[in-house]
């Protein structure tokens, strides 16, 4: 079943109303389409500034789009009335990167996790203690932590509390924006395992944003690769990691340091970075294929014709190498 659908979604920021010249337009999200199936994890990857967080905020109606639509179970999220919106807010939760900033330092763990229960009038007040204890158990914490405050916990434990808060209202989808980035490697692995268990036991779908390709491969079913506000490749995670189609995906995968245990070979000499240049400013998106200035494979039409995101061998790619630019 399709849980979420995003159509031609755009978010532009306007700035620099100067004395001379027109407004400058920053195209943070510039025409994105995707669907998220129930019971699955869709990861968004791409360099910083490519629009991942803005897209996440749009999907959750935390900001208004410049164009395009978002459907949650067939309902237009931006056309929802009060009641529908309230139920959407319950169904779609978010977990942020920084578990320090996203918890109120003056509220106990119990207050934090029971708050959404009160807001959404879930269960009887006198049962909340049991409910909270049960949710804490799901995220691997004991009931004794309920009376404690955020500062008493490590980063990993705080992220567990944030996840517990998101779980409290039994959401159907969790948007997780770089939920592991602030954590140490050994703690990241604990949270990854927790997310995997949740995925199996609850059927919650995830929109998972991360810059760690190893984690993305491990955790996600589908991957959308973003570049300058657009999705340039959308494929099954296994397919994408086995063989990237888009030259940008190829560049990203080749840039990530490889690790293998037990059969590591000594690298010979200097590893030449496959990545050329840096992403241009979203104020100034290149003509034709936005990736063409950095693309080692560009040819004839690339600097003139904008490639469309189209199907090729069971995935979506926007690159002239994969489709004739007619």
């Amino acid at each position: 079943m399709e849980l979420l659908r995003v159509e031609a979604l755009k978010k532009y920021f306007f700035s620099g109303k100067g004395f001379s010249g027109p407004d400058k337009v920053l195209k943070a999200v510039d025409g994105v389409d995707f669907a998220l199936e129930k019971d699955s994890v869709l990861a968004l990857v791409g360099e910083s500034g490519c629009g991942k967080s803005t897209l996440a905020r749009l999907v959750l109606r935390l900001t208004t789009p410049t164009g395009g639509r978002v459907f949650f179970k067939g309902q237009d999220v931006f056309a929802m009335g009060r009641e529908e919106l309230k139920s959407f807010r319950k169904s779609a939760q978010i977990v942020f990167q920084d578990p320090f900033a996203s918890l109120n330092p003056r509220r106990t763990v119990y207050d934090t996790i029971s708050e959404p229960l009160i807001i959404h009038k879930i269960g009887k007040r006198q049962d909340h203690k049991d409910v909270v204890a049960e949710i804490l158990r799901t995220v691997g914490m004991g009931p004794e932590v309920m009376t404690r405050y955020p500062h008493e916990f490590s980063g990993g434990q705080r992220q567990r509390i944030c996840i517990a808060r998101a779980l409290a209202v039994s959401p159907e989808i969790i948007v997780a924006d770089e939920p592991l980035s602030a954590l140490d490697v050994s703690i990241q692995a604990q949270i990854i395992n927790l997310l995997m268990e949740l995925k199996k036991s609850t059927g919650i779908s995830f929109l998972f944003i991360s810059h760690d390709l190893r984690v993305v491969h491990y955790l996600s079913d589908m991957v959308g690769v973003m570049y300058l506000g657009r999705i340039v490749e959308h494929a099954k995670a296994d397919d994408l990691f086995a063989r990237p189609f888009h030259p940008y995906t190829e560049m990203l995968l080749a840039s990530a340091p490889k690790i293998s245990v037990g059969d590591m070979k000594k690298p010979e000499g200097i590893r030449v970075a496959s990545a050329g240049g840096e992403a241009p400013s979203p104020f100034n998106i290149p003509s034709g294929c936005p990736f063409h200035p950095r693309c080692p494979k560009r040819f004839g039409p690339c600097d003139r014709v904008v490639p469309k995101l189209r199907e090729s061998e069971g995935r979506l790619v926007s690159c002239h190498l994969w489709h004739n630019p007619e």
Binding site: I192, M264, I270
Partner: protein
């Protein structure tokens, strides 16, 4: 011969209550022209180890032991000589270049300043040399870039500028403390390539600090793994990844996702604060190999093979199994 030899390094912070020992009994050697990777999770003491080598410890910290650099003990060397070494013979780059760049001076001026302070160069020559240095770190249109200010550059370009400043006087040791942690993987790959090229061209030694074992695997020739202020395993890079022999190293490696379907084996518990470490082996309370003997005394470094050491009394039995 080693360029740098650290012996029995202890670093202690004074505090209102008890002093906190943040680094204890650290030994390491860095050979000429090698990349030595120092890895471990946050708070384990990587940065202050680096700062103690640079002579830049904060005022509430003190170091003991010895740090021999080209035969001189940096811990007993006078302030003035240390200041002269810094920037000339050894230099350091950080995760966030913005904190070490002056926002109101041009890139060119800041580069030139390093040159005329240390190399007795005229300001004019130094400005010319600045352009050359920007070229050496592969900054496009260096003639234009020298006139720019730090905020006009991307994070990756600023890190290149920091590297240019660090190598300006031809140091024999470069300390790189998480220099790519704030950058995208694509830019990280470029910076790593640059560092590696400069090392080869200039025969510099590099102390590369990172929490990312992937970077170590691809770039370092030797590796030290730190936990709670101690070096717990030391080996050639291939040995660390092919035959890790400290349970913490195994825990770190088991925490890294390696393809779908493989089991992730995280380390239980949390990274401890220096104030509440166990008595014996500092890893004992998170270690699946721990026995009662681990609780009584802190293990020393056991020799696993030539050049391979692990701080674990059970290292003979400790094995990676996939």
């Amino acid at each position: 011969m080693s360029l740098l030899e650290v012996r029995g390094l202890d670093i202690t912070f004074r505090s209102d209550t008890l002093p906190v020992t943040a680094v204890s009994g650290l030994d390491l050697e860095i050979a000429e022209s090698e990349i030595f990777g120092l890895a471990g999770e946050s708070g384990c003491g990587k940065s202050i180890t680096a700062l103690s080598i640079m002579g830049l410890l904060p005022p509430n910290a003190s170091a003991s032991g010895s740090i021999l650099f080209k035969g001189m003990d940096l811990l007993t060397l006078d302030k003035e000589s240390k200041r002269r070494l810094r920037g000339k013979e050894m230099s350091m780059i950080f995760q966030e270049p913005m904190t070490s760049l002056n926002p109101v001076l041009t890139i060119g001026y800041q580069l030139a300043e390093v040159l005329f302070t240390h190399l007795d160069m005229s300001k004019r020559d130094a400005m010319d040399k600045a352009v050359e240095l920007l070229k050496a770190v592969r900054i496009p249109s260096p003639e234009i870039r020298v006139k720019e200010y730090p905020h006009q550059m991307s994070g990756g370009m600023r890190q290149r500028v920091m590297i240019a400043m660090a190598v300006a006087c031809g140091p024999s040791l470069l300390i790189a403390d998480e220099p790519t942690t704030a950058l995208d993987v694509t830019i990280q790959a470029q910076i790593l390539e640059l560092i590696e090229r400069l090392r080869e061209e200039r025969k510099m030694s590099i102390l590369f600090i990172t929490h990312d074992l992937g970077i170590i695997a691809e770039n370092a020739s030797r590796v030290g793994i730190m936990y709670a202020g101690r070096l717990v395993e030391l080996a050639d890079t291939a040995d660390i990844f092919n035959d890790p022999r400290h349970p913490y190293t195994i825990g770190l490696l088991g925490s890294i996702p390696k393809g779908k379907g493989t089991q992730l084996r995280p380390i239980p518990g949390n990274v401890p604060r220096m104030q509440d470490l166990p008595e014996g082996c500092k890893y004992e309370n998170r270690c699946s190999y721990a026995i009662s003997a681990c609780r009584t005394a802190e293990p020393f470094m056991y020799k696993v093979s030539e050049g391979h050491f692990a701080r674990c009394i059970r290292t003979d039995e400790v094995r990676w199994n996939s």
